[in-house]
């Protein structure tokens, strides 16, 4: 089936099978930040923005994205750059495996709620599982990042 989407702000036309998952389609386009983690729609590693909203690309058919806009971390380098650098400097990136999904969802959080409380951060990122269980580090990193923006 032919689909037309905007991937990282670039129009793209492609043929996909009806059961091709968005994650596989995106990786075939070279978006390797989108990674397969749990395969049970639980871990948030495969998070992308679909029309600006964070979704699990492992659970969306690529054909369903037809006519929509997709952003992966590859397309948000500028927006993510400050935050990712800050998180790394804070040592909050741990092993790094969950970072692409974590960063994508953090960006979605900042867009939706630029000044979240700690509880709002925890709630928004509850769907991003960290294999190192580095949640406190992530929270500290985000808090410090947001505080640094205010300073």
């Amino acid at each position: 089936m032919e689909i037309q989407i905007k991937l990282n702000d670039r129009p793209l036309k492609s043929d996909v099978s009806p059961d091709c998952l968005l994650i596989d389609f995106l990786r075939a386009q070279g978006c390797y930040s989108v990674k397969r983690g749990c395969e049970t729609s639980n871990c948030g590693l495969c998070t992308v923005l679909l029309d600006g909203k964070p979704v699990l690309s492992c659970s969306v058919l690529a054909v369903r994205a037809n006519g929509h806009q997709i952003h992966t971390l590859e397309g948000l380098q500028e927006e993510a750059s400050d935050f990712v650098t800050f998180i790394a400097d804070q040592g909050a990136d741990q092993c790094g495996f969950c970072n692409p999904g974590f960063v994508m969802n953090a960006i979605a959080l900042f867009r939706e709620n630029p000044d979240p409380t700690d509880d709002e951060i925890r709630a928004y990122l509850a769907g991003n599982l960290c294999r190192c269980s580095g949640y406190e580090g992530q929270l500290r990193g985000i808090r410090n990042y947001l505080n640094s923006k205010k300073a």
């Binding site: 679909l50 979704v55 979605a108």
Partner: protein
């Protein structure tokens, strides 16, 4: 792994219904549960173009389209004002924001899944469903029906004045509930909806008169014991039947005490 031969975006409910009469075809909700199955599906039917992704509010009710996401439920001010935030509470621990942006009300309700917080919540409310062929029936009636090939179009939540509380017990924050519990008071009746038993949610009404003199520690305790005794539970990996029965007693009492507080203008505790 699921395999799918064809994908069709239905252009009308009639088309979706006709396609859904074949047992080899499936209606797509959020696809979160379906994608983990091993089904070989001939045609998946997408309802995305049918305008079922909105919540509309009138003076008398809310109309919640089958393709409304759980995140929309969570953020809808009207729904949460009416339900005293019980609806938000019922969905906010379902996996994560990314999951709730995909999962649909229709998928949760039509599936009548035992673990469903959404079904448990809406059962405790004054709620009907609209089916394409079956018309409008109560959610309670729908919940008791065997699955068929009709199309769930929307939920109709009546704005019956009342008080509503929802709580659940989870082994970890974003896991399925071990037990889920909605308690409401409307039409002069207390309603108790218990889900994740682990079977599908059931609805009980207080027919005992235990609460007829109001909610106190003692009456809430007695009513909670009654609900727990009436509710069949089973064991699975998340918890034993006995543990679930105990949790029902705890959550029903807590929810009742909160309802009692709301009745007396104090949302945090009963009189």
């Amino acid at each position: 792994m699921i395999t799918i031969k064809n994908y069709i975006r239905a252009s009308s409910l009639q088309e979706a219904y006709d396609l859904n009469q074949s047992k080899q075809n499936r209606v797509l909700g959020g696809m979160l549960w379906m994608k983990m199955s091993n089904a070989n599906v001939n045609t998946v039917i997408d309802l995305s173009d049918l305008g079922l992704n909105t919540i509309t509010e009138t003076e008398h009710d809310f109309s919640i389209g089958a393709m409304v996401s759980l995140r929309q439920l969570e953020l809808d001010e009207g729904l949460n004002r009416y339900s005293e935030n019980a609806i938000q509470t019922s969905v906010r621990d379902i996996v994560g924001v990314q999951f709730r942006n995909l999962a649909t009300v229709g998928g949760s309700i039509f599936g009548r899944f035992g673990f469903s917080d959404v079904l448990t919540m809406f059962l405790a409310l004054d709620c009907d469903v609209e089916l394409f062929q079956g018309g409008r029936i109560s959610l309670e009636q729908f919940c008791a029906m065997p699955k068929d090939s009709d199309i769930l179009v929307r939920l109709i939540l009546k704005k019956t004045p009342g008080h509503f509380v929802y709580s659940s017990m989870r082994n970890s924050k974003t896991d399925f509930p071990v037990i889920a519990c909605g308690v409401s008071f409307f039409d002069n009746t207390y309603h108790f909806s218990i889900g994740a038993r682990p079977g599908k949610a059931i609805l009980l009404r207080d027919t005992t008169g235990l609460l007829s003199d109001g909610i106190t520690e003692q009456s809430a305790d007695a009513a909670a014991k009654w609900v727990a005794a009436q509710t069949p539970t089973e064991s699975n990996l998340r918890g034993s039947a006995a543990y679930r029965t105990h949790l029902i007693e705890v959550l029903v009492k807590r929810n009742l005490m909160e309802i009692g507080g709301k009745m007396h203008g104090n949302p945090n505790q009963a009189e």
